[in-house]
Symmetry: C2
Subunit: 210 residues, 2 copies
DNA sequence: GGAAGCATGTAAGATGTTACATGATTAC
DNA sequence: GTAATCATGTAACATCTTACATGCTTCC
């Protein structure tokens, strides 16, 4: 357990700021709300709650239920509310991270050729467009509710990004070499491509920015 | 060490497919190429190499250097080449994952108000646009080299997505309520917003699709 | 009345990160 | 000639996921 609280901890507090909840309810709420841009699994929720309780940022009350299993319902403490708001306006933001297996495949796409890559791209586009349709439905629901404008902003993000990705798949399909050929391109000028990719300094790789 | 190989393992093999490398060189190559869409830290590279070697997918040779520390240089074995290509065309793709702290903040943006959110959005836009400029430079370099078209496709992805995100920040800034007001909106209709967000079934949350 | 699913939660283990170690080499 | 950086790598730890456990309810 580290000392500094990261995004996951604050995300749990953010959800609790909407309503007191048990670990189970929190995990479900997380799955239905922030999981698209900040996934948190159920066991993570429970361990975050422990940590936050130890720090006095949340407090749990036992609730006895007769039909369902008993539970502990957590709420933000005043210190927790403060910690959440401080984090919200902190000027230093944790960086975004993207994990996109298709792009790893794309980088070595020459190994399987343009046709196989078009298959992969097409499948990805279909998945992304389905997600996009779900987000559109959601957007319509939220558009009707003034109080939901911040929630709606997160949905808009998804709409923009899924559109951009679908667009990208089409552009790349057009761009790929017209080579249904069986020439095995392995080892060709591949090293070159990798070297070129790394030919610009990465962000943060040097102390002095330009 | 799990049995099934995941994206990280295959990413290491993908990089080795360009050229044999030591763990250190691999980690640096990863940082300069795939880290934008599949970050791998140095110790991860080393543990993947161990795992892959145990499976006979890569093999390492000791190389003695006199000026620099000795090293082990790894190369793909024929079995490794096969495993990589099988993975490339496998129809079932691991899902993409996004981790974007700003969206967590956005969801509870009502706590700090529109002005504070505009600050955050502006800062994010500036960072994204800087990244975008780097990618543009990179794209120009790659555009000149026919062999780099797959590498270039990954850069194009970044270009599309950064443009979409920059766009989103502007749209949201316009959309936010004109409320430089001090009315503390806490607890208002917040629960409602969360409930609405979760009002559609999440992907994969039920077995039957539509 | 059996199967599936829900509401609660935990244990075990894999994945991933931060920080350290060390000797050479370059930079000023 | 000291400070920073590079090339190599490892140890310790934090984060996150997969799988399990349990008793009720609902479904057909």
């Amino acid at each position: 357990m580290s000392r500094r609280l990261l995004t996951t901890s604050h995300a749990v507090m953010a959800l609790l700021s909407f309503a007191p909840m048990s670990g189970y309810q929190l995990a479900r709420a997380a799955d239905r709300s922030i999981s698209r841009f900040w996934p948190i699994s159920k066991p993570q929720v429970y361990s975050e709650l422990q940590r936050l309780e130890a720090l006095g940022l949340v407090e749990g009350n036992d609730v006895v239920q007769d039909k369902l299993p008993d539970k502990r319902v957590f709420r933000l403490t005043p210190a927790g509310e403060r910690a959440l708001d401080d984090w919200l306006v902190a000027d230093q933001l944790e960086p975004s991270r993207f994990r996109i297996p298709l792009l790893v495949k794309t980088l070595v796409g020459h190994r399987v050729g343009a046709e196989a890559m078009r298959e992969l791209l097409g499948a990805y586009r279909r998945a992304v467009e389905e997600e996009r349709r779900r987000l559109e439905e959601l957007d319509e629901v939220l558009a009707g509710t003034k109080e939901a404008s911040y929630a709606r902003a997160t949905v808009l993000f998804g709409l923009k990004v899924t559109a951009a990705i679908a667009d990208w798949t089409e552009e790349v399909e057009r761009m790929l070499p017209q080579e249904p050929v069986r020439i095995d391109p392995r080892r060709a000028r591949a090293v070159n491509a990798l070297a070129l990719l790394g030919s610009l300094p990465r962000r943060g790789s040097s102390k002095v920015r330009r």
